[in-house]
Amino acid sequence: MKIIAKRPKGLTDARLTYCPGCLHGVAHRIIGEALEELDLVESAIGIAPVGCSVFAYNFFSCDMIQVPHGRAPAVATGMRRARPDCVVFTYQGDGDLAAIGTAETVHAANRNENISVFFINNAIYGMTGGQMAPTTLPNMRATTAPYGRDVADMGYPMRVCEMLATLETPYYIERVSLLSPKDILKAKKAVKKALKYNKEKKGFCLVEMISTCPTNWGLDPLASRDWAQENMLPVFPVGVFKDEAKRQEASK
């Protein structure tokens, strides 16, 4: 018997602490697979944020650190300078990356730091109980937007990939979704590409993954996926926003 699919070596044996049906686990697994397939388990450093995935330091089997809310790209910058041979990746939610950490995200991208930023966008703050996120949709309810997000008062959801793509320097920016097995396979390709680019010392890579939050959306795992397909993808379309390697290929 040959094993054709199993829990990757990039993940530890620890039970994931996410809610049933939460797609964080899928994101973790495809990163774990990519780390194993690219032979990075021993030479990568992962940075866990503040948010539901704060415990990621227990779930990835490479060297890990847990850092202040939003500051992962700055910590990654310090690490890259100290250990230029290490692949460094951050794993961040929408509050961590696009609210408190906006400056660190933008400036790491602008400096073309050779890191991969894995951005899990589920349009809500999970760990703290369902408050509004920078990516919460117009009229979407959250505990701090109990009457729905009023864009006049609270602005529109932020499209991070589009924003960062206006910068000169980032190397690779893609938005993917985790909402179906087919999408997950595409997402895995993007994750692996990002880490491979880092291995080749190409520069800043960001993969935004459209995900769900069954618990705080008040929907079961299947209904959450359907809701995200219908409502999030039109606002956050999947696609490649920057791929410097492809651009250089095309210009030849």
């Binding site: 060297d63 700055a74 310090g78």
Partner: protein, 352 residues
């Protein structure tokens, strides 16, 4: 021992840090320490190191956190409002048991204050500063040479105890120029392979650096472990200077940094007039030299704290004296620096 060079405090401490093996410096411009980051920007590339101007003081302290986690000597510097921004990061560095050096070249506060030299971040420096139960060793220099020497000393302390260390300077020290010499060799760095991150070739288990302990009993234990380290620091690392204390003075002054130099001038002048005043100059502000102050205060009539703030260190002085004699504080806000004439006059009033 090298030749004497006339250098600005900000630049001297940067040079000393580099000679002590620091190759990773992250900071943001803020007066009155801009010469430090500018010097680093020129010098670091010459030695193959990194000087990165971060997008904020918050980003800078987190870059230090990342570099320190990978086992290198990492440093940042700022001035009062910027140090306020760094407090969360410093708390994390302390909780994660990482070595790092932070330099505060103080200015007027609170708020934006001004750019004149002050000592008004004493509480912030010595009472943890950020959230949670922790302390950071604090070194207070009083001359450009001492300031420079404290860079390698701070790194050694940081590595010995796995803690961030703060150097407590002020705008005067940062800006003034004095002759400085540097050592040829500041000694080896510690071995960090037992816990540092990155390129773990051959190492069987991964390293995790973390300060979250969700189980209250585990956090209790971790904190108590941290405080056992602090007990050792208190036992072994207190530093202070006595000046004219054995001349049987009637008054004891406690002062630090550049204020202590003004006080020394006043003491010398008063001695010529036949009046004896003693000075204790704490060099470590945490741990504070309580015993040394108490000892020196044994036979005096009064202990006066002179500081460039509205009265912060005087609380530690009161704790040290334990009511054995009256204490008072002569403080000044605004960055209006004490003159020797002023101090002489105040001490004379108190001797009367």
């Amino acid at each position: 021992m090298g030749e004497k060079i006339l250098m600005k405090g900000n630049e001297a401490v940067a040079e000393a840090a580099i000679r002590a093996g620091c190759r990773h410096y992250f900071a943001y411009p803020i007066t009155p320490q801009n010469e430090l980051i500018e010097y680093m920007a020129k010098r670091m590339p010459q030695v193959g190191g990194t000087c990165l101007q971060a997008e904020s003081e918050v980003a800078a302290i987190n870059m230090v956190l990342g570099a320190a986690a990978c086992g290198v000597r990492a440093m940042t510097s700022s001035s009062s409002p910027g140090i306020s921004l760094k407090q969360e990061g410093i708390s994390y560095i302390a909780a994660c048991r990482l070595p790092a050096v932070i330099i505060n070249v103080q200015r007027g506060g609170p708020g934006l204050g001004n750019i004149a030299p002050m000592q008004c971040d004493y509480f912030q420096a010595t009472r943890g500063g950020g959230h949670g139960d922790y302390y950071t060793p604090v070194l207070a220099p009083s001359s450009v040479q001492e300031f420079a020497d404290m860079a390698p000393e701070a790194f050694d302390l940081a590595e010995k105890y796995l803690t961030p260390v703060l150097i407590f300077a002020d705008g005067l020290l940062g800006q003034m120029m004095e002759p400085v010499t540097f050592e040829d060799d500041y000694g080896p760095q510690s071995d960090k392979s037992g816990w540092s991150l990155g390129c773990r070739k051959g190492r069987k288990t991964n390293h995790i650096i973390n300060s979250l302990f969700i189980d209250p009993y585990v956090l209790k234990e971790k904190t108590e472990e941290l405080f056992r380290v602090y007990d050792t620091i208190v036992k072994n690392e207190i530093r202070y200077e006595y000046y004219n204390v054995d001349a049987n003075p009637k008054i004891l002054v406690v002062a630090i940094g550049t204020v202590a130099r003004v006080v020394k001038t006043a003491i010398d002048e008063l001695k010529e007039q036949g009046l004896e005043v003693g000075l204790v100059r704490p060099i470590t502000l945490w741990p504070f030299p309580y015993k040394a102050v108490k000892e020196a205060a044994k036979n005096v009539e009064k202990v006066i704290t002179v500081e460039l703030n509205m009265g912060q260190m005087e609380q530690d002085v009161r704790l040290a004296v334990e009511g054995a004699c009256p204490t008072k504080v002569i403080g000044k806000a605004g960055g209006v620096v004490f003159t020797p004439m002023e101090v002489i006059s105040m001490l004379k009033d108190n001797l009367a």
